[in-house]
């Protein structure tokens, strides 16, 4: 530990609890598992840590078909075959190591400084992948079979793992991580987030938009509730009209609902409610 601690970055509004868990996880050298509704800033947090600690960020976007080896390294046989046939590269064909390319975890291990390793949406992969990956992250080393070489982490990366899943990950997995759940921000917090994203915006627009936003989130029967990202885009859309009067928002006169609701049923539902109220 170089004694660095994390206190928040310019574009990310951090609550004190979260900052503390990040710090403790860094000190204990344990991965931090972040769960929360989409749009609560799980991925953004890794960016923020990177920014405030001045460490480079490596992102592993987990896909359902992904094999662990892809996250570690890849042996580029195709290039080697090509080189052996046409021989127009400077690489030494007999040196297999020249054809080993590091995956994201591999890159974090061989980096010459401490990095932030973001493993995004771990829930997409199957349980075996998750457990095997934590084995690697536990031991901080893996083998490259092709060249019989062990890669050890030079600097233990700060590991942030995100998950959207409502269901829990496996017990061995959870046992090795610290856990934090990012609750959806309350209106006060949201106001801060909006201020960070729109410095110098008129106060009444922010207030009214946030108020309308939380009201819309409460609607019954909405399948995909709008999140922070949608609110920011919505405000951006509202701002395009310089003559827009923020008071309209209080009268349920809500333009650009399509920015907030992306499922057609949700959109219809929201439109219906907004029109119905508008008449009274």
């Amino acid at each position: 530990m170089s004694g660095q601690t994390f206190s928040g970055a310019s574009r990310y509004v951090l609550d004190a609890e979260l900052a503390q868990i990040v710090n403790v996880s860094m000190a204990l050298e344990m991965p931090l598992l972040l769960k929360g509704e989409p749009g609560t800033g799980k991925t953004m947090l890794a960016y923020a840590i990177t920014e405030s600690l001045g460490m480079p960020l490596l992102t592993l976007n987990v896909k359902s078909s992904m094999k662990l080896i892809e996250a570690l390294y890849q042996y580029d046989t195709l290039t080697r075959l090509n080189d052996s046939r046409f021989g127009d590269s400077k690489r030494d064909i007999s040196d297999i190591e020249a054809y080993i390319k590091m995956g994201k975890i591999g890159q974090a291990f061989v980096a010459d400084r401490r990095t932030v390793l973001l493993i995004d949406e771990i829930d997409k992969a199957d349980t075996d992948f998750q457990d095997d990956m934590l084995d690697v992250l536990d031991q901080m080393e893996f083998d490259i079979i092709e060249i019989d070489k062990t890669i050890r982490a030079r600097h233990r990366p700060v590991i942030i793992i995100t998950s959207n899943a409502k269901k829990d990950l496996s017990d061995p997995f959870l046992g090795r991580c610290n856990f934090h759940h990012i609750a959806f921000p309350d209106p006060k917090m949201m106001r801060k987030i909006i201020d960070v994203h729109f410095p110098g915006m008129s106060g009444s627009l922010a207030d009214n938009a946030i108020e309308a936003f939380y009201r819309l989130r409460q609607l019954d029967g909405i399948e995909k509730r709008p999140a922070t990202r949608e609110l920011i885009n919505w405000i951006r859309a509202l701002q395009t009209d310089p003559d827009f009067n923020p008071k309209r928002l209080l009268k349920e006169d809500l333009p650009f609902l399509g920015v907030l609701f992306k499922k057609s049923q949700d959109f219809e539902q929201a439109t219906r409610v907004s029109q119905r109220r508008g008449r009274f």
């Binding site: 004190a16 609890e17 503390q20 868990i21 710090n23 403790v24 996880s25 000190a27 204990l28 344990m30 931090l32 598992l33 769960k35 536990d138 899943a165 409502k166 269901k167 829990d168 061995p172 959870l174 046992g175 090795r176 991580c177 610290n178 856990f179 934090h180 759940h181 609750a183 399948e223």
Partner: protein, 409 residues
């Protein structure tokens, strides 16, 4: 807490107490996580009760579904009302749990204790327990030496005589509430286990049922196998083809949609139904009232499209059968040879025989019951049907168990 002398060791006791309170209230905290928490405390990462609230939750509690319980236990515990507990017993109990975990995963425990896995293997169970107790005492002594686990400026806000930590705020964090107040707000109530089953949870649970299998013509090159075979042939190229993966899982959903007894559960069943249609390629839905006789219906009004059980039995026996119903009815409906409340349904075979027939035809079947499990013993037919089909509660937990049952080989 009213311990004035030997406060340090009492502190230790108190953490064990806290750990046990969490366990007793159903928060699944593991001894390994508890030791990790000790590590954090020993390193001085925790300097106030607020810190303790956040850090111990981050380390001990691994799902937001238990955050609410954690909050409740925390508030109860640090309000000052602490249940007395014999200290020796607490440690023994703790050690026993740890032992169980050690048997399951020696490496994890070795890491947590900071000793070599092989060294750990040489311990007898008794030795391990002793070692563990020694370790706890170590921690205590270190605590005595001035490195306080909890507390700033010389007073330990936790477990000090007569001190009431509930209202305390330590440290410069600009939070408006004390940890106990935060805990008492119960911000995580919505995430707790008893919460309603919402669409995304159902989707999540059902997703696990999907599984891909090779099917159709072998038209896809298997690169790995091709390379392997080619190498085996010493360079003579051999290309191996596979069928591509397809989701071939077939599901039959049979829903009890009749009668007032199922009415309260319509929304949740509806959601389940919608999601299973979205999840599976091949899902057939049928309806019945209370229980199944010779016929089920493909239309919700149970009128237009009858399907006999024999027709149903001609389907792939690997089809997963999911029945949803409260399984609550008059016993004769199930047992009597002409128990059906519909005269046209009376075939001479009692419903219970039909159910047995279905269970035998489709080896992988479950019955999902929206009635709370605690109330099952009060209805006789629930018990009877539960003997025929594995029955699960229609909650997120029950659904996960049902899915696990359906996917098991």
């Amino acid at each position: 807490m009213c311990h004035s002398a030997g406060g340090a060791f009492r502190d230790n006791d108190m953490f064990i107490d806290f750990f046990y309170q969490l366990r007793d209230h159903g928060v699944p905290v593991s001894p390994t996580a508890f030791l990790t928490l000790h590590k954090a405390l020993a390193r001085g990462l925790v300097n106030s009760l607020e810190d303790f609230y956040t850090v111990s939750r981050g380390i001990l509690v691994k799902s937001e579904r238990y955050f609410d319980l954690y909050d409740q236990v925390f508030a109860h515990f640090f309000e000052g009302a602490v249940l007395p507990e014999a200290e020796g017993l607490a440690i023994d109990e703790m050690a026993r749990t740890m032992l169980e975990q050690w048997l399951q995963n020696p490496k994890e425990l070795a890491d947590a204790l900071g000793i070599d896995e092989n060294a750990l293997k040489r311990f007898t169970p008794e030795e391990l327990i002793e070692y563990f107790k020694e370790r706890l005492k170590d921690q205590t002594e270190r605590h005595d030496g001035g490195n306080r686990w909890i507390g700033t400026g010389g007073t330990s806000p936790v477990g000090h005589s007569g001190h009431h930590p509930g209202g305390m705020r330590v440290g410069g964090e600009s939070r408006n509430h004390s940890a106990v107040k935060v805990a008492m707000e119960r911000r995580y109530k919505d995430y707790s286990l008893e919460g309603p089953l919402n669409p995304s949870m159902i989707g999540e649970a059902l997703k696990r049922l999907r599984h891909l299998r090779p099917a159709g013509p072998k038209d896809k090159v298997n690169v790995d196998k091709s390379i392997y075979q080619t190498m085996k042939n010493a360079g003579e190229i051999e290309i191996v083809f596979d069928s591509s993966l397809k989701d071939r899982l077939k599901v039959i959903l049979a829903i009890d949609n009749g009668g007032w007894s199922m009415d309260p559960y319509i929304p949740v069943v509806q959601t389940l139904f919608d999601y299973s249609r979205a999840q599976f390629k091949e899902v057939k839905t049928f309806f019945f009232h209370n229980t199944i006789y010779e016929t089920v219906w493909a239309d919700a009004s149970r009128y237009k499209k009858p399907t006999t059980l024999n027709e149903l039995a001609r389907r792939d026996p690997d089809t997963r059968l999911i029945l949803i119903g409260d399984a609550s009815m008059a016993p004769y409906e199930l047992m009597s040879q002409d128990g059906s409340i519909y005269i046209t349904d009376r075939s001479g075979r009692p419903s219970i025989a039909c159910l047995h027939f279905l269970a035998k035809t489709f080896r992988k079947s479950v019955w999902l019951n929206p009635v709370q499990k605690a109330r099952w013993p009060y209805t006789r037919t629930i018990g009877t049907i539960g003997q025929i089909f594995p029955m699960f509660e229609l909650t997120i937990d029950g659904l996960e168990k049902a899915v696990a049952h359906l996917t098991a080989a």
